[in-house]
Amino acid sequence: MSIPSIEQILGSPLPVKLIVLLGMSAVFLYVRKRDAEGLTSGFFYLFALQAVRDTAYAFLPIPQVYLISDLFIFAALVYLIASTLGGRALVVGVSALNLAAVLLALADYALPFLPALPISPLGLVPALDSAVLAVFLAVRGRSQDRTLLNAGTLAAALGAAYAAVALFLGYGSDFLHEVAVPLFYFWPLGIAFYQLETHEGQLVRALEYYEGEVDSIYRLSIESGAAMRKTFSISDMLDGLTRVIVSETEADGGAVLLVDEFEDVVGFRSVQGRFPPPFKLPEDLPRKPERVEAFVRHAQFKLGETLFGEAAKTGKPLFVPLADGDERIQSNGPEDFLRVGSLMAVPLLVEDTVIGVVAVERLPGREPFSEGRFDHLKTLANFGALQISNFFSFQEARERSERERASNIAAEIQGLIVPKKLPEFPTAALGAFTAPAIGVSGDYFDVIQTRKDRVLLAVGDVAGKGVAAALVMVMVRSVLHLVANTDKDVATMLSWINRGITGKIEMDHYATLGLVDVNLATGEIEYANAGHQPLLIFRAEEDGIESVELKSIPIGVERGTGFVKRTLSLKSGDMLLMYTDGVVESMNAQGRQFGRKNLGTSLLRSRELSAREAALRIRADLANFAGEARQHDDQTVLVLKMKL
């Protein structure tokens, strides 16, 4: 074998091939730039392999070089196409076959033993590869990625054509080298090109699809947002949602059903457009459009019953492209307004909770819903479910904040009318605390200096809670301040307050009130009571606690109630304690009440303390007793200590 001269090489098909290769390389670079994802690189390697083969052949024009490289190229082709489509066995088989053929070809070249037939038996192998690949592609069929399959089929067809030329004309044929090979250069690039184009087309379509979805979701948000801003009504919000879903799916009508807040049923909450019922109507319901519509509007189903109950129970979407003849759709009569055309129903899911079902319909005669619409509805349903659950969360938060606002107003009023700072006297000192319980705000206390040597102490508890109770408290306080500055005694003051409050307005207004009028010069006190807790007095001389109880009914029960007063005398060091029921009824985790006895002990242990310190001591003892238990009622304490 001799190495060909320059003339021979120039006269060979190599220049043609090289020119084509050059052109191809330019295209190669262009494609490479567009292919950011490396989709086509496999085909480029094939292209390079061919280029190497032809350059080698130009210098070593032996047919076996061609045959052997083709065996590799076809194995690589099968690998490129079949491996991505799950044809591993095929790849292994073809590789083994081709490798065996390579070994046979090498052996035959070294020591020719194969018969010189018109058609080389080894040349059959690439043709066989192409045929097997074609069968494989046909079998894999439509279930696989369309683009890949098309590119593969194209490659297999071109490969088969080339293999046929090589087989029938032989590897020495001029036609093969001058026409078939340069043409065959096109195929990897062509396929790479094709794949890239389709891929980009897919990207564009996906982009358009997502743009559409985002658009729909945007419209959905706008609609439900409007309902939240304007009326904050769930039915307005659901109506808006249904309208958007109907228009986005190009349906004739649609409905949203929600799972009931208390029972396990799912019921219609919004129906828009024309929505013939796909479930069985009662036999005795007149088949009139307005009657049927009214029935549908209020229909509800147990979970699992009808296609809506089923979707709500299982959480599975339902697609009925053609209602006619589909057993899932119940027919209610031949009338036009009762006939369903095409239906899709998708559960409204928030994580693994079904909150309802959304359904849309097209009437008979219109094009049925497509799979694409079904997917679109699923996206809309996902987002819709989120909107609905957000709405309910907002609603709950709003109700809670309204409740809190009402009790905050009451607490604020209460905070405004109790004294901020206690007055100080040479002969008596005061201490107090009031601790409102959340949402109650009924305790009241006051200290009114009526004359230089007189101070009026008041502790009361308005029954009820919230703003109503606060209003009663304000009324009590107003009358008290008015009569405190007259020369009336404490019993008369109570009857005036009682008259001022009882039966005046159409609401319950009860309050207990204890009044103590202290003579700062003498230590003499006058005590009157309207249903309030007994007075506790620490007697310094006896070192004991005296309980003073004046039984009577509270303010607000009867207009004509008469109250009595009792006169007592305090000596230096004596302490007077007024308090509300929240103190003595304070309960610990074991369910025991603090009680008057503990309160008395607490006062007794405060004998050496100032009035202010005594109030703090009682508060600490109370907190200690209650521990972690919740405070369920207001607690108020007012202490006076005489130092004559």
Partner: protein, 193 residues
């Protein structure tokens, strides 16, 4: 009638006597006691109800029901003798109201008679015999007066849906109201199934 109320046909609708009922368990219940003063019943009721949370929507209905029970204790139990006390244990949250009301009287002697009366009343209702029902509008005993409607317990039995039980002496009654709880949607039991 489209929306006939059929609740009276379901469940056991009679007053039970069962001192061992869990409804008599007083642990951690709040407690108040009142003198048997008929004039103050509304006030006492308000003192109890004020500890009910704001989440309970039909608070007026609850107040009315509690008021009836306290009225029974003050009037029929303690015969309005001010020295006799009415003791109330109570506990509320958003999902329930639980009360025990005890008086110092002789106990509800006519309990069986009442149950029998109520059973007949419900039969008339179920049969839609509205003429016959006229005889069963008001339950009256020798001690009934013009202020007794004779129908408070019918409503009570409907209202206290978690039970309405007397102790053996029949001077204490324990009751439970369960409020339906709002929930959003139903949880899927098995997503793959």
């Amino acid at each position: 009638m489209d929306s006939a109320d059929t609740t009276y046909l379901s469940g056991i609708h009679e007053i039970r006597v069962d001192e061992n009922s869990p409804l008599f368990e007083k642990t951690n219940m709040l407690f108040k006691e009142f003198p048997s003063d008929y004039r103050q019943i509304r006030y006492f009721t308000l003192l109890i109800v004020q500890s009910a949370p704001l989440e309970i929507k039909e608070i007026n209905l609850l107040e009315q029901q509690i008021s009836e029970i306290i009225k029974n204790a003050v009037k029929h139990g303690n015969k309005c003798v001010p020295e006799k006390k009415v003791r109330v244990w109570y506990e509320f949250d958003a999902s329930h109201a639980h009360l025990i009301v005890q008086d110092e009287g002789e106990g509800f002697k006519d309990l069986e008679t009442w149950n029998e009366f109520n059973r007949r009343r419900l039969e008339k209702l179920a049969a839609q015999d509205f003429e016959g029902l006229a005889d069963y509008v008001s339950f009256r005993t020798e001690s009934s007066d013009d202020n007794d409607g004779g129908n408070a317990l019918f409503a009570a039995l409907e209202y206290w849906n978690g039970g309405f039980v007397y102790n053996t002496r029949r001077n204490a009654v324990a009751m439970l109201k369960k409020y339906p709880q709002r929930h959003l949607g139903v949880t899927l039991e098995d997503r793959t199934g």
